[in-house]
Symmetry: C2
Subunit: 416 residues, 2 copies
Amino acid sequence: MHVDGLSEERIDHRFKGLPPDAEGLTVGELAAERRSIFDGGFTTPVLALSAPALEHNLAQLEEYCAKHGLAFAPHGKTSMAPQLFARQLAHGCWGITAATAGHVRVYRAFGVQRIFLANELVDAAALRWLSDELAADPDFRFVAYVDSVRGVELMDAALTHRVDVVVELGAPGARTGVRDEAVAHQVAEAVAAARHLRLVGVAGYEGELPVKTEETVTAWLRQLVALARELDARGRFAEADEIVLSAGGSAWFDSVAQVFDAVDADDFSRPVFKLLRSGAYVTHDDGHYRRSTPFHERVAGSLRPAFRLWAQVVSQPEPGLAVLNAGKRDVPYDLGLPVPQVVRTLSGAERAAAGMRVVKLADQHAFVELDEGAGVEVGDWVGLGLSHPCTTFDKWQLIPLVAEDGTVVDFVRTFF
Amino acid sequence: MHVDGLSEERIDHRFKGLPPDAEGLTVGELAAERRSIFDGGFTTPVLALSAPALEHNLAQLEEYCAKHGLAFAPHGKTSMAPQLFARQLAHGCWGITAATAGHVRVYRAFGVQRIFLANELVDAAALRWLSDELAADPDFRFVAYVDSVRGVELMDAALTHRVDVVVELGAPGARTGVRDEAVAHQVAEAVAAARHLRLVGVAGYEGELPVKTEETVTAWLRQLVALARELDARGRFAEADEIVLSAGGSAWFDSVAQVFDAVDADDFSRPVFKLLRSGAYVTHDDGHYRRSTPFHERVAGSLRPAFRLWAQVVSQPEPGLAVLNAGKRDVPYDLGLPVPQVVRTLSGAERAAAGMRVVKLADQHAFVELDEGAGVEVGDWVGLGLSHPCTTFDKWQLIPLVAEDGTVVDFVRTFF
């Protein structure tokens, strides 16, 4: 990958929260100044990404995948940050997962060589571009989902270069993906009849099962393996070099490891390539994923929440209410509201944020309910824990990477 | 304003939905090609901004403000699009309203000369930048809210150049802003004692009243006028050239016009400057603002929803369900879900979207419930009506501006 160019980008009005007095410096130059996020001229609200927490999380999933013989293509839609993709690849990842053709374009612009598109793609303009990209680079490895005969036909009509596809297995009441084996076999037959497609496996996403328990997730994963075996038995992977089995978000990767561990290679005609695709692990969070990770409770390992949003109290207009200058444009709100963690006064004193709750967000404000004696003042900075990495990253285009003591050591650029 | 440079920007992977085969063209060059949004190589999902609807809306508020003697500083946080600010100013607007110091930086980067910051600003780094900006340009007119003595003191301590402020009037249970006259007078006294602040009026936002009816909004607006009169009687505007009265989002501008119309200039020691700040009107919408605009029903005038999001059906995995390739990253979901309006088949035939409802969004997918016989196919484009302009604009960095027939005539750049 080639991400070094990102440090040449100029700091300016495009990047909220960055120091106004750094205007015109390059990202690399500002990082070299090693400013403090607290008194280095950053303006609130500003999102901080913890460098040690990030490194911890990268290492944890690398270790987990190595231990369980899983290849790993973390879902890049979470961060859309090429610098993080480069670090994920440096931590042993096979490739990066994408959700849209737009994501694939971003990945390719920064030289990602192996991309798993965990989605259907029937857009003719995007498929023409993809054909050209594959034709221009024989080392570009690409795999996408198919889940309908019509989708296969639309793909094949637009493509001019061979594309590897996997049948997506869904479940009744879930999102995309075939609901049963009969449709899977029809889709596989359509792929076999297509000029530009090659079937290489079966994949899906357990996170969209309508009921998710260890039992339902495990049963569905076994169904996925069984479908691959049946397609293999019918000769549907005749053109493939290996058979891809892929699943796994950030909540059930232990079940994926367990079921994929149990796969008997002798049951398949070709080597089996087991691919995990978790994305949210990279920053983890203080809400949804804190509650749903299998680490800590179900299996050995740990993740650390890497994001903290610093907002400032701009108003305390009546007893029991403080208003912060961060709103829907700055923090995620789709899987729970932010949670005040620490209060930092203008003198630099920090304390736990006791008796404070974010109860509502406007576009540019957060409403914080205060218990009596919460002792917050206009001007205080409030550090917020967040829920849902995906809708955090997409609100920030250049994110300070901070050391434990608040020193900004680098910046992470996102592309949404 | 200087926005012409935006047409020199290069089309690339940063801008989702734009034609992959336009990579490397400038925005101006691509606009000059007059491509169709439907078969010009744009990829789904893609947001379309209607050029005629936009022009209609710009003209409607211009006319309304002229008729009612209101100056207009539309809230720029809605679009964060300098090209739209330039058009708003060309349509007679006095200036542009901002919500954060970051907004003010973007506005200044493109040469907005009059900015109303409808928020408290106590961030020292931002206030230092603001001081420098005011010192460097004597023609830069800036006004901000104050609502607490402490806020005034923090501003004054950080500023090195005089800043005009207005007391923000709130209401019990609302957002920021003083809750009663007593605090307003304390804040005014603090401003009088400050070295770098000058009190020039009273302002607020009726959209945050806990109960909003014509009665409560009108009563609150009258309170705002009365507060200004009382502050004036106490000599608090002694240094001001004119007295600013400002209120008004996109839902109650008729009440603002009515109450401000009734202001008797003879009651004030100086000329009264009545400033409206509606923002969402610029694109209007098919949801929240369609229901809340005073146009159509309460007063003469009309607005047209200017946004349509085109997504593609990528999967139809079970009866009654279609899945589109647009999700939380592409459409607003905080004031209602998108509504399917039209279906466009790959042959270009369009029909009303009957029997289709978006019932859920994932990060990159929309779940559409289908009535029997809805007749949707994988590959179809679905045109979605949206609710909430502010959380639409902020998901798109370069938005095609389309003529009635789908010809893309320009692109609007946003800065979030």
